[in-house]
Symmetry: C2
DNA sequence: TATTGTTATACTCTATAACTATA
DNA sequence: TATAGTTATAGAGTATAACAATA
C-alpha cells in the first residue's frame, strides 16, 4: 500500500470505481456492481489509504492505532486478550508489540500472579501520543462523513457491524 | 486467512466484535467504537472469510472472481485495462493471470494491431465455470442480506461506494 | 520517448507447527 | 495437560525498480 501522502480524490468515477475511465469504452463491472462485498473491499482500501496518508507523519499504521487504543482503554490486559479483541493471532501479535515497545509507546509488565503472561500498558510517550492520534483519527472520520453525509453516516455503523458477525470468530 | 469451511456465526458479540467475551470484564474498544473504518475493516474480513469458505470447493479466491467477472463482461480487454479496473498493479497482475491461464479458465490472445499487448478472454472451461461462481456469489450475498435486512441492505451500496472515492486512484 | 508485459525483489499481513516456561 | 508467549516459516497481497519488445 502506498504510504506517501497523495492528494485525495480525482475526477468523479463510475459505480464500479474504475481507475480513470477506459480510453475507448467504459468498463462493465457486471455482477460486481451487485456485490456488497466488493464495494466494501474497495471502501476499506480507500479508508486505509487515507489513514496511511494522515498518520504517516507519526508513523502509525491502522493496526497499531487499534492496539494502542485498546491498551489505552483497558490497561493491564494480557497480550492474548488484546490480540483476541482485535482479531489478531497471538503469534503475529508478538512482533507488533515488540515494535511498539521498542518505540517506548507501550510497556510489558510482568504479572506476579501468573509468571507466564505480561500485562500491557501505555508508556509515558504513548500516553502523550494518544491525543494526537485520536485527533488525526477524528479528522479522518470527518472526511468519511463528508462523503456520505452526516445522516447517512449515522445509519451505517449498525448494519456494518452486523455484517462483521458473518465471521466465525476473529483472530485465533 | 482460514480457508476451511467453518460454521458461520457463534454467540452474539458486543459492538466491538470481540473474540468471545473477556473472562473477567468485557473489553472496552473506546474510540474504536466510533471509527467507521474499523467496523468496515472487520466487516470486510468477515465477508472474505465467508467467501473463502463458500468458494473453497471451486478453489477460487475473491480477487480471482473479480478478474473473471470483468473479463466475462468485457472480453478482449488488455491486462493493463483489467488490472486498472480492479485496482491491481499490472506488475502483480501477471502472476494472477498466469494462474488462471494455467487452469485454462482464461486465455491470452495476441493483438495484431498492437503486438505488445494481449487481449483477455474466458476459455471454454472458464465460461462453464462462471454460472457456478455467480450462483455461489448470490448465496453469499443472501447471507449478507440476512444479516442487515433487505431494506437496510438496499441503502448500503451507495454510501459505501461514496466512501471508496476517498482513494486517490486505485491500482497503478 | 512512452507503453505493455515482464522479472526480480522486498515488505506487510496472515496462517500453521512447534517450542519454553509456567500453570 | 493446558495456557502465555515465543520462534520459525510459508503463503498471499502489495509496493518499487528495471528490463525487452513494440509503439
Amino acid at each position: 500500500m502506498s504510504n506517501r501522502p497523495k492528494p485525495l480524490r480525482g475526477p468523479a468515477r463510475g459505480v464500479g470505481i474504475p481507475a480513470e475511465s477506459a480510453p475507448g469504452a467504459a468498463i462493465n463491472y457486471g455482477q460486481l456492481n451487485h456485490r456488497l462485498g466488493y464495494a466494501i473491499r474497495r471502501a476499506q482500501i480507500a479508508i486505509f489509504q487515507d489513514f496511511f496518508s494522515a498518520f504517516a507523519v507519526l508513523k502509525i499504521r491502522p493496526a497499531q492505532y487499534s492496539i494502542l487504543t485498546v491498551i489505552e482503554n483497558n490497561p493491564g490486559l494480557s497480550q492474548t486478550q488484546v490480540a483476541g479483541a482485535l482479531g489478531i493471532k497471538k503469534t503475529n501479535f508478538v512482533a507488533m508489540i515488540d515494535a511498539l515497545e521498542k518505540r517506548a509507546l507501550i510497556a510489558r509488565r510482568p504479572v506476579p500472579q501468573d509468571r507466564r503472561s505480561y500485562a500491557l500498558f501505555l508508556a509515558p510517550s504513548g500516553m502523550t501520543l494518544m491525543p494526537k492520534l485520536h485527533a488525526l483519527a477524528d479528522e479522518h472520520e470527518q472526511r468519511i462523513i463528508a462523503l456520505t453525509g452526516a445522516q447517512t453516516y449515522a445509519l451505517l455503523a449498525e448494519p456494518i457491524r452486523a455484517i462483521a458477525r458473518l465471521a466465525p470468530e476473529p483472530g485465533e
